[in-house]
């Protein structure tokens, strides 16, 4: 089981971070993501393989200023 922003999400073996974010409905162009507390650069979303029991935080980048 994974945790995304305090919600429980099913773990899928072999899934990359970008696939998980898309499965959860995020636009990967406009998010900042931490995996177990570490910030992940957008260019690495396709490379990071999500392990079971990981805690993920997703911060949506919103316009307006």
């Amino acid at each position: 089981m994974l945790t995304i922003n305090h919600d429980k999400v099913a773990y899928r073996e072999g899934e990359h971070l970008s696939q998980l974010l898309e499965r959860e409905g995020y636009d990967t162009t406009f998010v900042a993501v931490t995996v177990d507390g570490a910030l992940i650069a957008r260019k690495d979303f396709d490379n990071v393989q999500v392990k079971d029991e990981t805690t993920i935080e997703v911060f949506s980048i919103m316009g307006g200023g």
Binding site: F30, A32, L39, R42, S60, M62, G63, G64, G65
Partner: protein, 211 residues
């Protein structure tokens, strides 16, 4: 700074702790964007006695800015960075401000902006620029950046988060979008929080206190 300037400075900053004011005076801050966030943050940091401010924005003042940005009716059509610089200098006589009327790109950050300060405040309006700044500073961890996302509508301050991750501090509700409208009371909560985090970063010696 001349003796007279120093005297004015210490009088203006009389209600701050002298050791804080002294410290703030040693730092330079770059503010990326001079809209609802940046125009207000710049004035807060100048008032607090921050040593040098660098302002970046390509845009000119228009009517729709006046509901939340720190400009006046008479300034319509002026470059935002020039109007902000003038406001800071007329409010705080010893403020050191440089204005750059240009679009902020990774190339500009690489070639110019990062030579001027180590602390950056992301105060852009549009989502693409915000993503660009986050991507840039995630790959340039020797600089610190304080970003804002989610500051629209008549928001609830209980939803505002301050998230620290390495060299990045992210502030906002991360959910509200400009379709909900942009209103100064909520925009300024986020602007104030960014300015507050900047001062705490200085007080903590150029790093975030909480991680």
């Amino acid at each position: 700074m001349s003796v007279a300037e120093n005297d004015v400075r210490s009088q203006i900053l009389r209600r701050q702790r002298p050791e804080d004011s002294e410290l703030f005076g040693q730092y330079a801050v770059s503010i990326l964007g001079c809209g609802g966030l940046g125009s207000n943050i710049a004035l807060m940091l100048a008032r607090a006695g921050v040593g040098k401010l660098y302002l970046y924005d390509f845009d000119r003042i228009e009517y729709s800015n006046l509901n939340r940005q720190n400009y006046t009716f008479k300034e319509i059509g002026q470059l935002k960075v020039e109007a902000t610089k003038a406001r800071l200098e007329s409010t705080i006589p010893y403020a050191k401000v440089e204005a750059f009327a240009c679009r902020v790109t990774p190339e500009l950050l690489d070639q110019e902006a990062t030579k001027r300060s180590t602390l950056f405040i992301e105060a852009f309006d549009n989502q693409e620029s915000k993503a660009m700044a986050l991507d840039y500073f995630m790959n340039h961890t020797q600089y610190s950046v304080i970003t804002a996302s989610g500051l629209s509508g008549l928001g609830d301050v209980r939803n505002v988060q301050v998230k620290y991750a390495n060299n990045i501090c992210m502030i906002g509700d991360f959910a509200s979008s400009p379709e909900q409208g942009l209103y100064l009371p909520y925009v300024s909560v986020i602007a104030s929080t960014q300015a507050l985090e900047a001062l705490k970063w200085m007080k903590n010696g150029g790093t975030y206190a909480q991680q």
